[in-house]
Symmetry: C3
Subunit: 269 residues, 3 copies
């Protein structure tokens, strides 16, 4: 696997100097590396948001890419840092659960606890280890260093639960887990799990709004009108055509979404 591609997913801030500093450290070690920003605008300290972006999007990067996730509320504390090799990718992240969702999709072949200080920038600060640990480690990794050199092999990473839809009293209770740049709401109803169910007559409620049909694209409804569709991440999305639904309806991540199937009347031909 060619290792030159590095993808950064952080909460360090678009426009903040921190991502650029990490790139300086990486390129100082590995001049051939090519760095792609997936996002530096994960909401500060939101491990789940970074996990979601990583899980949905890692597969669009070239084989051999090193995906580095720095959303690290315990920076400088006792959490480990882990490097995981899968069949197609490398993942480097604090061991705070951030890799647990993506590694359900990409089976880990080897997990290393990164602790060989030889590869760190000294002195290691306790506030910006993106610069002092993550960047130099990924620089050396991209340069071809063997992963066993970064530290001991370990058996498992920390896991955090995916916010699954709950089935209760004939209703499915989900929630909004991501709001995109356009104000579109992404729920936790996964297409692979719910697409069959939504071919029946259904009613889906968020706040006091009710949806009973799926659109196949935004352009099926009129400007300013709401629609429900499968989004590009593979989840059920609620959007206003050419408007910002999250702002207009004042919805934040965590808002409940309730699905009911109307079993009495079958869908018409």
């Amino acid at each position: 696997m060619v290792r030159k591609y590095i993808v950064l997913i952080t909460d360090l801030g678009e426009g903040s100097p921190f991502p650029g500093i990490m790139k300086g450290v990486i390129k100082s070690i590995s001049p051939e590396a090519e760095i792609i920003d997936l996002s530096h605008q994960v909401r500060p300290y939101q491990v789940e948001e970074a996990s979601f972006l990583l899980m949905c999007n890692y597969k669009y990067f070239p084989q051999g890419t090193i995906l580095v996730t720095v959303v690290d509320p315990e920076v400088g504390g006792k959490r480990k840092i882990v490097l995981v090799k899968t069949k197609n990718y490398f993942f480097l992240a604090p061991d705070n659960g951030i890799l647990s969702w993506v590694l359900k999709k990409e089976k880990p072949e080897k997990i290393i606890e990164v602790k060989n200080e030889k590869y760190f920038l000294k002195p290691v600060s306790n506030t910006f280890q993106g610069r002092d640990i993550f960047a130099p480690v990924v620089g050396w990794l991209a340069k071809g260093e063997k992963i066993k050199n970064f530290g001991p092999k370990i058996d498992k990473i920390k896991k955090i639960p995916f916010p699954e839809v709950v089935h209760q009293n004939n209703r499915w209770i989900g929630k909004i887990i991501y709001i995109d740049h356009f104000g579109n709401l992404v729920s936790n109803f996964a297409q692979e799990e719910f697409s069959k169910l939504l071919e029946q007559n259904f009613s889906l409620r968020i706040k006091n709004k009710i949806f009973s049909r799926l659109s196949s694209s935004y352009s099926e409804v009129k400007k300013g009108e709401p629609c429900l569709l499968w989004d590009s991440f593979g989840f059920l999305e609620i959007a206003l055509r050419e408007d910002n639904l999250a702002q207009q309806w004042r919805i934040k991540p965590g808002e409940k979404v309730i699905l009911e199937i109307k079993r009495e009347s079958a869908k018409g031909p």
Copy 2:
């Protein structure tokens, strides 16, 4: 023409994951490609804003650059996607008029309707074709694929009118068409058309403010004072020195700008 440079102009959001995903897809196909972000912060769905940025700035990129514009309110609908070759550049965009202003400056040599699904990422989503169509097509194009392979030749693209200044009752009525990061206002008075006229005595009004002289740089006026000058895009700009005029005067794109020439008294020697 070397085809390795790709410029992205989108409303996908600075800090959103979407531009990074497109880059992953492009680099997976064309490892030699170099991608430059012109802006991902076009206001959502504002086709005219993207058209303006493209028209003013395409010429600063190397010959052979592929300029990809993804501001696509009808994504997933019936609009076409077009690939245009000019003498110096390639342009890829939804056929919603977004290329009509730039193609007055760069004569199209060949227009292709992009429809050969062989080059698309499958399944093609109806919500993020930046990832599923634009990115892989530009990847293959950068890799050297012949443009005729992407689809049939067509004769013309959709056109939208440029917001020209209107001449009426001895007055020229224009408007603000772009507000930059500093809060400077860019009007539709083009330097090549109006520079002669503004050598006469004139009065230019926006809201209740009147200007009667041109400055040659911001530093000709005092801090916090307004000035009128030809900007770097080639249009008449109104600015506050070292302050944000759009915020201070609460002005938005679309605000009227009225020019009158005082013919009675000629400008002094």
Copy 3:
């Protein structure tokens, strides 16, 4: 020194088209150049903020990097543009004092006043010389042009004073000089100067809040609680764990920070 790396520090705006335009100009001249954004989100016209970022972070970039700082309130006016060579780096900036802090750390070996118009983009605008002067000059420099070709050697650059902590009546009076993306406050108490002093019993006050101990990392305090620590820039930082202190306490750059050493009682063993 390999000259291919170029770092941009500007107030041109993340998401604005201006940095991308500069990159187009640079790559048109020097296809081998690699450009890293340190920040385009310096607050508009804030020369001191750019100076601070440059001073703290230049050293993380590869030897030979050309660091270009475009925060230029006098653009188009009479200020000079200077190119400075040090042992390890090149610096290009308006001569408005922006280089004076970093050049205390990196001794200038040669200072050139950039005025050879042969290397400028014509016509040179008076509003965006990042595009018309800085970008093409750095492009030619990265391509290997001798620095003496850009203009005459001069003896010194303009200097602006660093906002030093003031010692007065047994108190040290400092201030907040930078607020980062997380809302953490960076003061002007430098670690190399004050770390010994803060090993004694002390009291540090900002607004009506008092600190009397240093933490070694954010994770030493509970979520939402304030802490005081040496930050990754080498200065004393005040932060809320996993929250935005600047927003919560409504603090802006310039806020006073007052340190007193309690000499009566020595710190316990």
